[in-house]
Symmetry: C2
Subunit: 194 residues, 2 copies
């Protein structure tokens, strides 16, 4: 009995508003009050749906990390090699930046050094990414299109390259240089598969 719960959509709405402000003003400047103001609700309502700011941050972590998995959103190709190629295109392309804000991601990541929950969540995602890429490489092995000795190791190195690549690229303003370097890094990642 009683009123229907709006928990899920409201939480998502709040997290999206949170994300928007974090993107613009930084995690440390994204206050409950600013979020509430931006979607014209009472700050207390945020406390109602999230017990504390800490839990709100957890919500944002989930939100951001889920987006990473979208790099695997490719058309179901019958050919596993096509699928793998498409995923690598996603990773080494502008799609990356359209998926989420790197500044926000690094801010949350830096919390992992002092917050066990966030740490585990990030670790889990990084492992999931590696595992899924490894599976795709293994599938290509099976069709003899690839002969990668250790798919898990290859996937690992590729993501190391990806993470390291964007660490530098995030600081590159010149678009031409950005693209040129990204291509080089992608080339190196592909070499791991041969």
């Amino acid at each position: 009995m009683g009123r229907k719960s709006l928990k899920e959509p409201r939480q998502k709405e709040i997290i999206k508003a949170f994300y928007k402000i974090v993107k613009k003003e930084g995690l440390e400047n994204a206050s409950i009050q600013k979020i509430a103001e931006s979607i014209q609700i009472n700050p207390s309502l945020i406390m109602h749906y999230f017990r504390s700011r800490e839990h709100l941050v957890y919500g944002l972590v989930e939100f951001i990390l889920d987006r990473w998995l979208h790099i695997f959103d490719v058309k179901d190709a019958e050919d596993p090699m096509d699928a793998l190629s498409a995923v690598l295109d996603n990773v080494f392309s502008k799609k990356w930046n359209s998926l989420f804000d790197d500044g926000t991601s690094y801010s949350l990541y830096s919390l992992a050094f002092r917050n066990k929950t966030i740490r585990q969540r990030y670790k889990h995602l990084l492992d999931t990414l590696r595992q899924r890429l490894a599976e795709m490489i293994a599938a290509c092995n099976k069709t003899k299109q690839l002969t990668v000795k250790d798919p898990a190791a290859a996937a690992d190195i590729i993501f190391v390259l990806v993470d390291g690549a964007y660490y530098y690229l995030s600081l590159v303003d010149d678009k031409a240089e950005y693209d040129r370097r990204l291509a080089v890094y992608k080339q190196h990642a592909l070499k791991v598969l041969n």
Copy 2:
């Protein structure tokens, strides 16, 4: 005339205290008051030596970034190959972690996405690191100990591997796994030089 200036040592003292608190409690929780308390001075004194908290953060950025360069602190070997090897040992070793706190470094790095000064400072450091490594590789080329076609490109890839490696490794708790993975990443970096 007048009293001798204590600017430099005082500033360094304050930054070190700042760093200590950031390491322990995070950048967002490291307040002027906490710093002042930790070294038993008046908060106003911090404002005297740094105009604002922002400038204090700049000071910490300098402090942290300067430490990166210590990876090049190796015994002056006559053999350029020995020197290069020693630097790579530094990068792929515990020395890395003893040099500075990764959590602090990532916190400051995340500011680069909204702060031009910090952004430029980080970019400059990353470029300097690459350039110096490239020079060392070139030196090995000259003595015919290496035949790396493009030393700059090789140095770039190596640091991409380094940055990506620690992005993952920072989340690894198990010491054995940490060491094992670090060795794998180092091996891959070495492969770039052949």
